[in-house]
């Protein structure tokens, strides 16, 4: 097994390679080796993970492909303390509330992992923004961004992406209604520049786009990129499609380029960005595998199943291979007409919450 120092060096070097490469097959071999090392590392340094591996994947030895890498369900970050570092090495704990009423996910970062995450995110973002910082309009309120309470995944997201913006302005006030003056000022100042608009999908729709529509407010930001993520669950319940979302952004913000991203707090940094063809792309630093929702066997491209998300970044916790509750489908690899290499896929929503039937807890919450 590699020493931790070697592993950090190997992953750090890997993150220096471009996010979308000309030589995908050699990169994939390299990714597999890193994941093999990560699996062994976490097995030895995270006791609960080691126990799960031993009992659940007793046959695991040398992985021949990415689908041989063991995976754990994403819910475990809510119910177990999973880390491969000593408590005094924790520099940051990421949390997400998940669905209401459930415990938040807890992700423990050390200095190296936090740094790898921001390096990877910078690499991926530079593929759409370039290297320099750009003016940024955050579609949220300033207080969300400064809210460091345990449950604010939104706050953490805004702070994470803020490193790409300068100056940064906020489009919403504390009541989550548009600060029309600020939005107009931003458009007057940067209407001709490449700018980044960033927000959570449901917030962008409900608090900004719907409000602009109701008040007939319009601005023009023709060179802006609207980056949004956090899931379509709420918009699906409102019956809003991606096309409608993009149309509305075009009408009221004058935005030509809308980019959805897919990511999770358990794999911060190695996010998946939508390309011009509106499909999500895995970068060099990660990948996705689709598994049958009942048997959990890997599925061929084109078949719908559960998304298993892979990331080379998690060094401080065993989150390098996670089975999510999201449904998705891989559309292909290395041959998207956008020109990016790697796996490209769609996320189709979350698996349905089953009604849990039983005889406990008539009144308990």
């Amino acid at each position: 097994m590699k020493q931790r120092r070697e592993l950090v060096a190997s992953v750090s070097e890997f993150v220096r390679t471009p996010p979308f490469t000309d030589n995908p097959s050699s990169i994939r071999a390299h990714l597999l080796r890193n994941l093999e090392d990560l699996t062994e590392f976490h097995r030895d340094y995270c006791e609960p993970y080691g126990r799960i591996l031993k009992k659940l994947f007793p046959q695991y030895e040398k992985p021949r492909s990415l689908s041989d890498i063991p995976y754990i369900p994403v819910q475990l970050f809510k119910t177990l303390t999973l880390r491969s570092i000593k408590p005094d090495e924790i520099v940051k704990t990421l949390t997400s509330s998940g669905t209401s009423g459930t415990a938040p996910s807890k992700v423990y970062l050390d200095r190296e992992t936090a740094s790898l995450q921001s390096k990877a995110l910078t690499q991926i973002m530079s593929s759409i923004l370039g290297k320099a910082r750009v003016p940024m309009l955050v579609i949220d309120s300033p207080s969300t961004a400064t809210d460091r309470s345990e449950f604010s995944a939104r706050g953490a997201g805004i702070r994470g992406f803020s490193m790409f913006g300068r100056p940064i302005m906020f489009a919403l006030d504390e009541k989550m209604t548009p600060r029309l003056g600020a939005v107009k000022e931003f458009s007057a100042l940067h209407g001709q520049d490449k700018v980044l608009l960033f927000g959570f999908t449901s917030v962008v729709w409900e608090s900004l786009l719907e409000n602009l529509r109701n008040h007939n407010g319009k601005v023009s930001l023709p060179h802006a990129i609207l980056l949004h993520g956090g899931g379509w669950k709420k918009l699906t319940s409102l019956a809003v499609s991606a096309t409608e979302f993009a149309e509305s952004a075009k009408t009221f913000l004058g935005v030509q380029r809308v980019i959805n991203y897919y990511g999770m707090v358990e794999q911060t940094g190695s996010i998946f960005l939508e390309c011009e063809n509106h499909v999500l792309h895995a970068s060099t630093y990660g990948d996705v595998i689709i598994r049958d929702a009942i048997t959990h066997s890997p599925l061929p491209h084109g078949e719908e199943g559960l998304v298993q998300s892979i990331s080379v970044l998690p060094l401080s916790y065993p989150g390098h291979s996670i089975l999510t509750e999201d449904r998705g489908v891989i559309l292909g690899q290395d041959d998207c007409s956008c020109g990016r290499s790697g796996t490209y896929f769609r996320v189709l929503g979350r698996i349905k919450d089953a009604e849990v039937r039983g005889c406990s807890d008539a009144l308990a919450k």
């Binding site: 993970y49 126990r51 009992k55 659940l56 475990l76 039937r357 039983g358 807890d361 008539a362």
Partner: protein, 410 residues
Amino acid sequence: MLKYEAAVTLLQSSARAEVLFGTIESASLNDPWYPFDQRVINFLNDLSRRIISSHSARNYPDLITFGFWCRISNITSLQQRQVQNDLEIGRGVSFHIPPSNVPLNCAYSLAVGLLAGNTCIVRLPAASLELDELLRSLGDLQKQQNHDSVVRRLVLLRYGHNDQITTELSGLADVRVIWGGDSTVQHIRTLQTKPRCVDIAFADRVSVALIRSESVLACSEAELQGVCARFVADSLTFGQNACSSPRLVVWQGSEARLTSSASSRFWGKVDEVIRETTAQEPIEVMSRLAELCEVIATSDVVSEINAAGPQTVRLQVSSENGWLESSKLRFGTFSEISVSYLDEVTNLLTEKVQTLTYFGYSTTEIRSWLTERVLARVDHVVPIGNALDFDLIWDGFPMIQMMTRSVRLR
């Protein structure tokens, strides 16, 4: 305070409760009746007829099962098992708090309450299709004047978590029927009742299946199919969430070799039955995996995973008491223990065990083992396939007796 005043006060402060059947004012004016009053039996039988003949009810096996349970022939046979005594009478008003997630548990609860001679106030669980169907059938009976006297004894209402309403309804009750789990029972017990009110409280329980290896090997293919289908029904009708669904399977065989071939024969067929009959939800399979990971990550009770297929997950548990830890796993997860003699099973049973289902033993054999050794450790002992059958004796409580009052006459 008079009953009527109490009821009116209640209505004022409990406006948030949605009353779906009957009224509290009229209900609280009823006198208790003798148990198994003919009017109640007729009412339940009419309800049964409506359910069984309803086209839409056919989509809900739970409802049909209840329909058969409350027909006159079954009720009279249940009555015959009761000690006949004309000095017993209903306690008065019964208040039922059924579980939220076995939708029709409330139907059995109210039927027993009525049969015991009581007025029943039932806090219904959240709406579900089968419950709506039951309410429709009850609504039909409400329109028939011949059932007026029984209809007046029934109040069905629905409200969110609200201690004020629960307290006020508790204040009307002479008996409360509190379906668990433990935390609900503990909580409801903190809410005040009349001094003489009796609580029947159902705690969190777990259940066990006992199988004789030699009997599985001796089964014909058809017999095997039958017992496996019954086992699956016991286990998965409520996603293994019902207290009486087995979580532990104990194999009794004179030789390890026999048990090993019996269990592979049995589980092979069980998996096949599940594949053919049960629509597994991705979220259940996912939760099963996550919960299993939690248990193996935090304890040593699982010594080995015997099999982890898409239909069932079977765990070898390491110690006699360890299985209670792994018994919280659901959605088709079974802990397994092998023993050579029936006596070894005794040590596996604790006061947490509600139901023991068995296969491969005669009633006489089971009865003599039960009465000699294990009576103190289990509440229901029934053949595999009958775990979910509702009975007037439940969780060790003779429900009719507990909901009636006995008058001493010398």
